[in-house]
């Protein structure tokens, strides 16, 4: 018997992987949650049939969304993480001794429960004493914060599902308002390759660029995401992601990483021509 999981990246393109075992399946109040065991990618978490992470390549995403801002702003102590119920982002952040507080806001408690059970490699630091978990709508949570955080990480699902509210101007504005005057917001910005994804990426970049004085995009290669090609947004009130980057200070922390390096940090902000054009199109 053959069992395959597949996900459409466009109506005409899909990614498929062989499944050894369907480990977990639950319809929560918000979405359908599944965890599969696969020969190539290890355990795979999907929400509404979209891959969120695989054990094999999650390190790329989780390292790039955390170490980039942490290496730019040496004073990050108070962090808000939105989404990210699997725990991978928190795992990376708790490696920094200077971090004093992490508020994790996830709308769906079932995601945490599933990941604690089946993805311990990601969920392992959710019980760190600095981590405070809130099961709430992120828009509602952040409305009540003002000049509070040094860093906000938006680790959302794609903009066509229950996370749609996290790609809006009102959300980015609320993040701006919740950050201190040298604060940084990093978000997963989707993929620029397929047309529908590209348009959504442009829309959210436009909204971020009109909200923050500094708004840059950087990239990474993530095999199981659409086109294997993923973007992150770096929005900031004060620090430039490359000009204010202190490679020596980060190297001195002696953190071992598998994807992120200080050389890659700079390189990730050099974008292909088509993408530069797409971003410029919406920046004015």
């Amino acid at each position: 018997m053959e069992m395959w999981f597949s996900e459409y990246h466009t109506p005409d393109v899909k990614l498929a992987m062989r499944v050894k075992k369907h480990l977990y399946q639950k319809q929560s109040d918000f979405q359908q949650i599944d965890i599969f065991d696969t020969p190539e990618f290890g355990r795979v978490l999907t929400l509404d049939g979209n891959i969120m992470l695989t054990e094999r390549d999650e390190f790329i995403y989780d390292e790039m969304i955390t170490h980039v801002p942490m290496a730019v702003h040496q004073g990050i102590r108070n962090i808000l993480v939105i989404g990210a119920g699997d725990g991978g982002v928190v795992r990376e952040l708790t490696r920094y001794d200077r971090v004093e507080n992490i508020d994790l806001v996830e709308m769906d408690p079932q995601v945490l429960e599933a990941c604690r059970m089946y993805l311990p490699g990601n969920a392992c630091r959710l019980d760190d004493r600095r981590v405070h978990i809130y099961f709430e709508n992120a828009l509602k949570f952040i409305r009540r914060s003002e000049e509070k955080y040094d860093l906000i990480i938006v680790d959302s699902t794609d903009p066509f599902g229950p996370s749609e509210g996290l790609f809006t101007k009102e959300f980015y504005g609320s993040c701006f308002n919740a950050l201190k005057d040298d604060g940084i917001m990093v978000n997963q910005q989707g993929s620029p390759f397929y047309e529908e994804d590209a348009r959504a990426m442009q829309r959210s970049h436009k909204r971020i660029a009109s909200t923050f004085p500094i708004s840059k995009v950087y990239q990474a290669h993530i095999p199981t995401y659409a086109a294997g090609y993923w973007l992150f947004g770096f929005a900031s009130k004060k620090y430039h992601p490359v000009d204010d980057f202190d490679a020596d200070a980060w190297t001195a922390l002696n953190l071992h990483t598998r994807y992120y390096t200080t050389r890659l940090h700079v390189g990730a902000f050099w974008l292909p021509a088509f993408l530069e054009e797409m971003l410029q199109e919406v920046e004015n």
Partner: protein, 485 residues
């Protein structure tokens, strides 16, 4: 099964007949000419095969809206049962046609009808059609919010006393903002004086199915009600219901409806009424509980933002605000220094959020069975952001005052009179022969037959400056106005 119903509300006779019809695979040598979409593949692709497949003509198995005897009659009986009416008519010309048929059923040329000035344009249009004369009751105004309220009992009593020959009293149940007059008391006053009581329930369909919502017209004993099923009831745009109490001769009302209603009633609209009525009868209570709760939640959150005032049941005063519809979400914006129209525009242009309307001092977001909590959070956050980014000194913003209309001649006389077109600024003192209104909400600032005053012109000018979408006059730029010669 709800015991308040006498008929089996799980039935949907028009829907069932259409399903049956589809299975029979009848060959169409009748209208419509698209023949189940085959003749117009682009239309079929846009709307879907299922949709064009039920866009069919009246025929024996599907009944006829002009003279229903089978499935449409059954659907009307079920609707009457669900709404507690003696008779219900399925309407396919919008609630405008329901309102007009209601007024034409009880009024003739020269009859007086008592009504509040903040009626929808369709009401005054009906007076143009039939030649009845309006007797306006001053709706109370909440000066700090700048909105018209309901009619006070004593104001209605006074109008009845002064116009004992009037044939009917018309009541908004509720107003666009969700405000209700004391409908039971007004019905009693009207009936005691030998008059009919009519209700414009364009914004009150859900009153028939909610717990904790204001009383519905049929429950209060009103004689007729125009009910916008396509607003809170969930049916397709332009479908509506006209309800009658026991004092109305249904056969005569049908004749009146047939004066102006199409003889090619759309089955898309009718089946949407049938299915929506079934849904409301079976699940309406739960549905509107949820909508009400969402409204209350939104009010709390918006008021917590500061600066805005999302008003609710606390406005109730036992008279001009006898009751408040908690599914309505109206927000007063002037205290953050922005007119409602400005907030309305910013929400759409910058936040991709379309709300129902903005007037001088308020916005209204329409909540319904289709809303979800995550979109509600977006609306609240967008309002918080607009305040953070645009808040300014509220000085210099006008509030909307009620301008007492001076009715000089009947709307019909004014509409058909010989007229002359004047620049707005030169029209002071003349009698208008056409409407001027912001749309939505579509409540006239000026109606045919009314004296044009400085105050009204100032109001029109201000609304134009703030970007309100104005309609009514022949002149699309609203620079000229037609006045009676």
């Amino acid at each position: 099964m709800n015991t308040r119903y006498h008929l089996d509300q799980t039935k949907a006779p028009i829907y069932e007949a259409l399903e049956e019809f589809r299975k029979m695979r009848i060959v169409p040598f009748d209208v419509p000419g698209h023949k189940r979409g085959r003749g117009n593949p682009e239309l079929a692709a846009c709307l879907g095969e299922k949709c064009v497949g039920v866009d069919v003509n009246s025929m024996k198995p599907l009944d006829n809206l002009c003279h229903p005897v089978s499935v449409i009659k059954e659907a009307e009986d079920l609707a009457a049962d669900a709404f507690g009416a003696a008779h219900a008519f399925l309407m396919v010309g919008g609630t405008t046609s329901a309102v007009q048929s209601m007024i034409l059923t009880v009024c003739k040329r020269g009859d007086e009808i008592i009504l509040p000035r903040n009626v929808h344009r369709s009401v005054i249009n009906a007076l143009v059609l039939c030649g009845a004369v309006p007797v306006y009751v001053n709706p109370e105004v909440n000066a700090s919010l700048g909105i018209s309220l309901g009619m006070k009992r004593e104001a209605v009593a006074k109008a009845i006393r002064e116009h004992p020959n009037a044939v009917a009293v018309l009541v908004n149940n509720p107003t666009y903002y969700g405000i209700c007059s004391d409908l039971r008391a007004i019905v009693k006053m009207a009936h005691d004086a030998g008059m009919y009581c009519l209700a414009d329930e364009a914004h009150g369909t859900h009153f028939y199915f909610g717990g904790g919502l204001p009383v519905s017209a049929m429950e209060a004993g009103a004689d007729m009600a125009a009910v916008s099923m396509h607003k809170s009831g969930g049916s397709l745009t332009q479908s509506s219901l006209l309800l009658c109490g026991p004092r109305i001769q249904a056969g005569y009302a049908r004749q009146i409806i047939n004066l102006t209603q199409t003889t090619s009633g759309s089955y898309l609209l009718m089946v949407s009424l049938d299915i929506s009525r079934r849904n409301l009868a079976l699940r309406g209570r739960d549905v509107f509980h949820r909508v009400s709760d969402m409204g209350e939640y939104a009010r709390q959150e918006i008021n917590a933002v500061g600066g805005y005032y999302a008003f609710g049941r606390e406005l109730r005063d036992g008279n001009a605000v006898f009751d408040f519809d908690t599914t309505k979400l109206s927000v007063h914006t002037l205290d953050i220094g922005l007119a409602g129209i400005e907030v309305y525009d910013i929400l759409r242009d910058e936040y991709d959020i379309q709300i129902e309307f903005g007037d001088i001092g308020n916005i209204l977001a329409y909540l319904s069975m289709g809303d979800r909590p995550q979109e509600m959070e977006r609306l609240v956050s967008a309002l918080a952001e607009i305040r953070r980014r645009y808040q300014k000194d509220p000085a210099g913003l006008l509030t909307q005052e009620y301008v007492e209309p001076q009715v000089v001649i009947s709307p019909q006389e004014a509409f058909y009179a010989d007229k002359v077109s004047l620049p707005l600024a030169e029209s002071t003192g003349r009698v208008a022969s056409e409407f001027v209104m912001c749309y939505p909400p579509g409540i006239p600032l000026l109606a045919p037959g009314e004296r044009i005053t400085e105050e009204i012109l100032e109001h029109i000018q201000y609304a134009k400056e703030k970007g309100a979408s104005m309609t009514g006059p022949e002149d699309p730029d609203i620079e000229q106005i037609n006045v009676v010669q």
